[in-house]
């Protein structure tokens, strides 16, 4: 249960400290923190920022905008989030760029490669490899030579 909280704490710290404003090229990938908390966290942080901006005046954008631009979250563990609900999460986050497919193999509780079955094909491609290629630009060269 601690993994999502740890991810949220680290994100909150980085956003409110102004790291994403100070270093626009900074990218953060969170692994193994789950998927369902992301839209709620964006809403909650935006709400707090609207109310408390003066406490962190060096933060120049809505936290959710920083997250859409610079934060990626691995799909593993999908837990019981089914395809239909996963697509709703993407819709609520207002970005199809935030999730990266991952299984956590070879851990005993690794996700199956089939966890995205049933998700729209275009979105599956985004999650399965396009977002990863954008997050790790040198990977395409390594794969294709």
């Amino acid at each position: 249960m601690a993994a999502p909280q740890a991810g949220q704490n680290q994100l909150l710290s980085r956003i409110s400290a102004g790291l994403f404003d100070r270093w626009e090229g900074l990218r953060v990938n969170l692994l193994e923190t789950g998927v369902a908390w992301v839209p709620w966290f964006m809403w909650r942080l935006d709400q707090q920022y609207r109310e408390l901006r003066a406490e962190v005046p060096w933060v120049k954008q809505l936290p959710s905008d920083h997250m859409r631009r610079a934060v990626r979250v691995s799909t593993q563990p999908m837990t019981d989030v089914n395809a239909k609900n996963f697509m709703k999460l993407v819709e609520m986050a207002e970005s199809d760029r935030m999730y990266l497919f991952a299984t956590d193999y070879p851990h005993y509780d690794a996700d199956s490669i089939s966890v995205l079955n049933g998700v729209d094909k275009e979105l599956q491609d985004r999650i399965r490899y396009k977002n990863a290629l954008e997050s790790f630009p040198r990977m395409e060269k390594l794969i294709n030579g």
Binding site: G18, R22, E51, P57, W58
Partner: protein
Amino acid sequence: MKKHVLFPVDEMKPGEIRGVTVDNLDLMLLRTPEGQYCALLDRCSHMAAKLSLGTLVPMITGDFGGDFQLVDGEWVVRCPWHRYEFDVKTGVCPADPKHVRVRSYEVTTEDGQVVVTR
């Protein structure tokens, strides 16, 4: 658009905020410490609290973590309920200028009187 004469310019002290009703519309009227009058709709766009019960504070900015700077001559009114800020001249919320604002109204002084146009 119609002009509404409110009261003499000296009626409000610099830094003062008050609620006024103009043509059946509740407005938050304030006078900045520099003496300029500004008017916003007296209803926070978040949950409709009266901004005239809020606080006039300097606009705060910063360039890096821990850096707090007061911007000369820029003021925001802070909502009494949830601390939303609104630029007193434009009504724009600096935290979310694309989505959050309250309507602002033109205030002038004519013949020693404060005049609101709406």
